[in-house]
């Protein structure tokens, strides 16, 4: 089993997301995260999918998703040639006596506190997955009340990895 990050450029048609996720569910492929957002061209959306499987499965994922009518382009975002980011929001239980400890942890990770309540804090952290995993590990001594992760978004580095879409 290995993980791959795929970047997709798709036409913004009704049902495009269910068509893509349908391929994963009916062919039994593992999807770890999926993020979707419109690109600079409002007719096109960018989807970042993290999928896992052996080499053959990952090749099939690329081909089966790639042949969907709405999918304009699919390619792997290779770790060395790309940047990945994920955003996480974490609500931690922290009354006044524990608040300072959490804040120092937040500083170490260059996270941000975006909400303070008498009994809790909401922390925002952006980074690659390992940084976010590490931060969550460091919070183990505290009670995490709620946690929301976006899944990763990524882009290839440099100008040679840009995908141009003709009209």
């Amino acid at each position: 089993m290995q993980k791959k990050v795929f970047q997709l450029l798709v036409d913004n048609t009704a049902g495009v997301l269910s068509r893509i996720s349908g391929i994963f569910s009916r062919r039994g492929y593992n999807i770890e995260s999926i993020t979707v957002g419109v690109t600079a061209d409002p007719k096109i959306s960018r989807i970042t999918i993290v999928a896992s499987g052996d080499d053959e499965i990952l090749e099939q994922i690329e081909k089966q998703v790639g042949k969907l009518v709405d999918v304009r382009d699919i390619r792997e975002l290779k770790p060395g040639e790309s940047v990945y980011r994920e955003l996480v929001l974490i609500k931690v239980k922290a009354a006044a006596d524990k608040r300072q400890n959490v804040i120092s942890l937040v500083d170490v990770f260059r996270a941000k506190i975006i909400d303070v309540a008498p009994e809790s804090l909401i922390i925002e952290l952006t980074g690659n997955q390992s940084k976010i995993d590490a931060f969550i590990t460091m919070l183990e001594g505290y009670e995490i009340l709620e946690l929301a992760r976006t899944g990763i978004a990524g882009l290839g580095r440099g100008i040679e990895n840009v995908v141009y879409i003709e009209d």
Binding site: V10, D11, A14, G15, S18, R19, G22, R26, E56, E59, Q60, K63, Q64, G66, K67, V69, D70, V71, R72, I165, E166, D167
Partner: protein, 537 residues
């Protein structure tokens, strides 16, 4: 002009001559507008068969077959037909009526989320929201259905969209789809590689799948095989890609195929798999076709290549283009010794049957029938033991062999034969089914009579769901469960009830004369053949 008129104009622009279907309120605007057109409408008796009939038509014309049904149960009934076409890559356009778009999602009467339900069985689907999108959507749908790897496209049209006034109707001349561009031309470097490997090969073989027929590459395949003296085997869907009695053709592969065909494929040192999925029934041990040999996999769908077997040389493109390009390469291929070996296998590995003389021997009957059939006759096999006998003993001359290979949908033969006959009224069309599959589609006898579609039907009657009975014979030691077809109608009386001529063959004594009588006139007829209930394929 309203949306429904626009749909008809689109169908006319695509050269559609026939629509198979079943109306309901949600598709009534369409069926009202079609009255002003020359397009022929055929009222099928259940919606699944509308898709099968359209499939039979598509397989003869090479253009998408069209069916139109209503919302809700009409749409859900057609799903099996769509899935059957999808599994065999048959181009279909399926138009479904839908409830008023303002009510979509509120579970009103006869509402079904059909675009959602068929998602995994269509090449693409549309839900038309704006009447002005109709021309573009139909243009795209016909293009998607019949290019690249062909397949069904469903267009769901809410009744208010069918009734809405369209501003300006203009059928697009050009297609512009940013996202859909199938590869049809083979990569030149890969083609050269194949030629170099063929030159070195001692035991080359071609395995032709349904893709060869879908790309109308039968002539190119034959020319290529003859030019380099390369033997050919086929999958079930590839039957008819080469004439059965061509000296270079060695039969169907797979667990229901010829033993010598499988042996030939397994012992080859270079296998050209073309237009075939390498699915379990054709190749149940994919490692046998990859180990110790060069596997060249040609398919228009890149996702098929490497899905079930890892090829040495992948080659994406349309079969006819690729054969033509391969023939431009200058090389020689010495296969004389290999052909001798294979002809030896063909002589010594024949399957010996011991037919019961009290009944019709399906093998001898089917061979006898196909010898007497017209050169370009169309033979439509159903699913079950009858299908395996048909695959094993039917002789394709220059005609076509149609069957539901991928999905194995019982009841396919009668509606598909009707579609074929509508497409080619001057050709002989014969549906061969069992007594189980016949009863799945016998309501279409009325359609045949109403619309004057003279299909000939053969029922191989053994009073069992024979294929399952055979499975239970081997797997459950004759513990038969739910396979007995007692209660089946008297086919002679049934034929009379529909006003169709009837013949019966009880054993082989009068086989020749009964076949002659059956084939004599171009009229619908049912021929019942009594088969030993215990016969095995």
């Amino acid at each position: 002009m309203i949306g429904a008129d626009a749909i008809i104009k689109c169908l006319e622009a695509e050269g559609v001559e026939t629509v198979f279907g079943y109306p309901g309120v949600a598709i009534c605007p369409f069926y009202n507008s079609i009255l002003d057109s020359d397009i022929r409408t055929i009222l099928i008796r259940t919606e699944q068969n509308a898709a099968h009939a359209a499939s039979g038509m598509a397989r003869i014309t090479g253009k998408p077959g069209v069916c139109a049904v209503t919302s809700g149960p009409g749409a859900t009934n057609v799903i099996t037909g769509i899935a059957t076409a999808f599994a065999d890559s048959i181009p279909l356009i399926c138009i479904t009526g839908q409830v008023n778009s303002a009510l979509l999602g509120s579970d009103v009467f006869q509402e079904a989320d059909i675009t959602g339900a068929v998602e995994s069985f269509v090449k693409y689907s549309y839900l038309v929201r704006d009447v002005n999108d109709i021309p573009r959507i139909f243009k795209e749908a016909f293009y998607i259905a019949n290019t690249g790897r062909k397949g069904p496209v469903l267009i769901d049209v809410p009744i208010d969209v069918q009734n809405a006034t369209i501003n300006k109707f203009k059928y697009p001349e050009e297609i512009s789809m940013r996202t859909y561009k199938p590869t049809v031309k083979g990569n030149a470097v890969q083609i050269k590689k194949v030629a170099r490997e063929l030159e070195k090969a001692k035991r080359p073989i071609i395995c032709a799948g349904g893709g060869v027929i879908l790309s109308e590459a039968e002539d190119e395949l034959k020319l290529f095989a003859e030019k380099y003296r390369i033997p050919v085997v086929s999958t079930m869907m590839g039957i008819g890609a080469m004439p059965t009695r061509h000296p270079l053709y060695f039969g169907m592969v797979g667990n229901n195929g010829k033993a010598y065909a499988n042996r030939a494929m397994n012992e080859s040192d270079l296998l050209i798999m073309v237009g075939a999925r390498v699915a379990d029934r054709a190749v149940n041990q994919p490692d046998l076709i990859t180990k110790g040999k060069i596997l060249v996999h040609i398919d228009v769908d890149p996702a098929e290549i490497g899905k079930n077997a890892g090829p040495t040389i992948p080659l994406v493109g349309d079969a006819d283009n690729i054969f033509l390009d391969l023939m431009k390469e200058e090389f020689s291929c010495d296969s004389a010794e290999w052909l001798d070996t294979l002809n030896g296998y063909r002589q010594t590995m024949k399957k010996e049957r011991t037919p019961n003389p009290a009944y019709v021997d399906p093998a001898a009957f089917i061979t006898g029938l196909s010898e007497k059939m017209a050169e370009d006759g169309i033979y439509v096999a159903d699913v079950g033991q009858n299908q395996i006998w048909s695959c094993g003993y039917h002789i394709v001359k220059s005609g076509k062999f149609l069957t539901s290979g991928g999905m194995g949908t019982m009841g396919y033969s009668i509606p598909a034969a009707m579609g074929a006959k509508v497409a080619a009224p001057d050709r002989q069309v014969i549906a061969v089914c069992g007594d189980g599959s016949f009863q799945m589609s016998m309501m279409e006898l009325a359609t045949m009579q109403q619309h004057d579609i003279p299909v000939k039907i053969i029922v191989l009657k053994n009073n069992y769901l024979g294929m399952v009975r055979q499975y239970q014979h081997f797997t459950y030691q004759d513990n038969y469960s739910v396979v007995d077809l007692s209660g089946s109608p008297d086919l002679e009386k049934l034929s009379a009830a529909y006003g169709i001529k009837f013949l019966r063959l009880e054993n082989m004594d009068k086989c020749d004369e009964v076949i002659d009588a059956f084939l004599k006139e171009d009229e619908s007829m049912i021929l019942e053949c009594l088969i030993d209930p215990m016969d095995l394929v």
